[in-house]
Symmetry: C2
Subunit: 371 residues, 2 copies
């Protein structure tokens, strides 16, 4: 079974094998594994040892996003969030429930965030301290222009919290060149091709120092995590970490380097996406997002306008053929969502498209026109 | 290498093997695995389908303890916490940082919580809504009397939040008989002999309903998790769960049943603890805790009063012999901490004691008197 969802992704056998040990999280040997992983991720983010640190917690991406908001945005502080889709909305909800003030910036579901719109919103409200930005919107697959939007925030003297969950490891990131970014947030189980259960931030040390006491949550306090690393060593977690998932991530990072690093991984994902796009077009189906802003991570295909169309039937028919795609809608116009990431290749995507053709035939869907 | 720490524990090969798959958390097949695990855990807690539900989040035990405090204790609400040791103190810190009022009840480090002291504290302050109780204090290994302390809270019309992290699966629990308990909290990687990265609550449904909107955190809101389960099905998590850890827990629960369930597991842990205790006494060493209140989960041995004693040297010497014990102190009087839980037997404990004898000889520690 190949997972063609936006994560957790299909992983290589070496990654799974790295989990098959009993590991003691506070043992010195394990601490050195942890330090190795954290330092490699900092470097991958374009961070510098004297300016940035990687902080890891067990759990999902949502936890690290809430932790970053709590840590960097003080209680009652204001966060501007471009509503890129479901994940933009999730960031807003995390911030609101944590008692932060959220200002939403509307964005068309199949459009990129316009840097000028962010600039105008920041100019109109001096009380906005932060922009909360989703790099790759996992709902639609659109990748936003972090460099341009970051530059706007920098020019306006504001800070950025970057949800890089489905972008990190494939899309470029240079935290030294973008000092307005307090933290870039991501998980082990998307473009890094590790296992779920570990969420991370690469964060600015000066900002962590400045933000002690903000979080109103011990569990989700990045400043306290940094402080703990200073006292106990950054390989020693505050609370029991998911040691096997960290071990799997180290194996995944080894495979990442062996593949040729970020650019090679991005090239493979782009090839996966293009193969899928060409394939679904040949089937008479249509992408949800314009080609010019379609990212290489997640691809949505508009559901055929046919009364016999049924997402669950389609998902189950693909599953019987060895491919697992997302089984719920994420966009206003119904579209089925396919992940282009994980240990899969353009050949896998060709086989997936062939399976889609069979599934559509099985469902007697001949009209491939979309809504 | 055998892990003799208080968790993560040594696991059986079947548990590790259950992680070696790519799993899609929102797939129907995986949802049915999750439901199976959650229902078995509810039953294990003595819960009833119409009264109780198991809620699981990725991450460590601290996260679920903070989540329970946020959910059941409203902002500004008061929690009485008997200071049983490090884990009692951790519960206090989690509650304080979440903006709840904490009243600490002093307890001697080598004593059990006295139910009469809890009754007196509750009688003295009508504004205390909850007692936060650690069942098995992982710092010292003392197991507290949940039935008696719960009865006191019940009689006084107060609620209980039970940190059962290192007790669950071995010590008895009957949530139907103890309706004062809002939630019992635990993880996969202690007496259940699963992997780290998953924290759970068995909680009262009526209380979850009554506590909507309390949490001030979307990530750590048990009422919202329950609500999500009602809407989407309780096998479908709100956020990406650590699917491999859930799969490992299902395998671990199969082995648990095969062993004979809770009583068989408790009997093995008790035999492990007694073997260790007899063994260290034969070496001239002394337990930290009086026999009458020593629990079967964690065992502390007072450090020898010898200038050549060095915890790290001792830990590394045992590690070379295949046994990993805790490498930091948890008690006021220095004591080394040994876990009696996990897939280990009295024979393993005998071999561990023999390794301790060798390690002490290697360190030239002949005076086995303690401080």
């Amino acid at each position: 079974m190949l997972l063609l969802i936006p994560g957790p992704v299909t992983t290589r056998p070496e990654v799974k094998a790295a989990m098959c040990y009993d590991l003691a999280p506070w043992d010195r040997d394990f601490a050195s594994i942890t330090v190795d992983v954290l330092e490699r991720l900092r470097d991958l983010a374009g961070g510098r040892p004297d300016q940035h640190v990687t902080l890891a917690i067990g759990g999902s991406g949502h936890f690290i996003i809430e932790a970053a908001i709590r840590t960097f945005v003080p209680e009652g502080g204001k966060l501007l969030v471009p509503v890129t889709g479901q994940y933009g909305e999730r960031m807003m909800r995390l911030a609101r429930e944590a008692g932060r003030v959220v200002l939403s910036l509307p964005v068309g579901e199949t459009e990129r965030v316009a840097p000028e719109a962010v600039a105008a919103a920041l100019a109109a409200d001096r009380s906005i301290g932060h922009v909360g930005l989703v790099y790759s919107e996992t709902g639609t697959g659109i990748v936003h222009d972090v460099e341009a939007i970051g530059a706007v925030a920098r020019a306006a003297g504001r800070r950025v919290i970057l949800d890089a969950v489905s972008a990190f490891g494939a899309m470029p990131l240079d935290l030294v060149a973008q000092p307005e970014i307090d933290a870039a947030l991501f998980t082990a189980n998307k473009c890094l091709e590790g296992m779920p259960g570990l969420a991370m931030a690469v964060a600015r040390i000066d900002r962590l120092r400045a933000c002690e006491g903000n979080a109103q949550s011990w569990s989700l306090d990045l400043a306290d995590m940094w402080h703990n690393g200073q006292v106990n060593g950054c390989g020693y977690a505050r609370f029991t970490p998911p040691a096997q998932v960290i071990s799997a991530l180290r194996a995944a990072l080894g495979l990442y380097d062996a593949e040729g690093g970020r650019q090679a991984r991005l090239a493979r994902y782009q090839a996966n996406m293009r193969t899928l796009r060409d394939g679904i077009r040949a089937l008479g189906l249509h992408p949800c997002v314009p080609d010019a802003i379609q990212g290489p991570i997640v691809f949505n295909v508009l559901a055929p306008h046919d009364p016999r169309w049924d997402l669950h039937h389609f998902v189950e028919a693909l599953k019987r053929r060895g491919f697992l795609i997302s089984n719920f809608y994420n966009t206003r116009l119904p579209s089925f969502r396919v992940g282009c990431i994980g240990a899969v290749t353009p050949d896998d995507m060709r086989r997936a498209v062939a399976a889609m053709a069979e599934a559509l035939d099985e469902m007697h869907i001949r009209t491939r026109e979309t809504v």
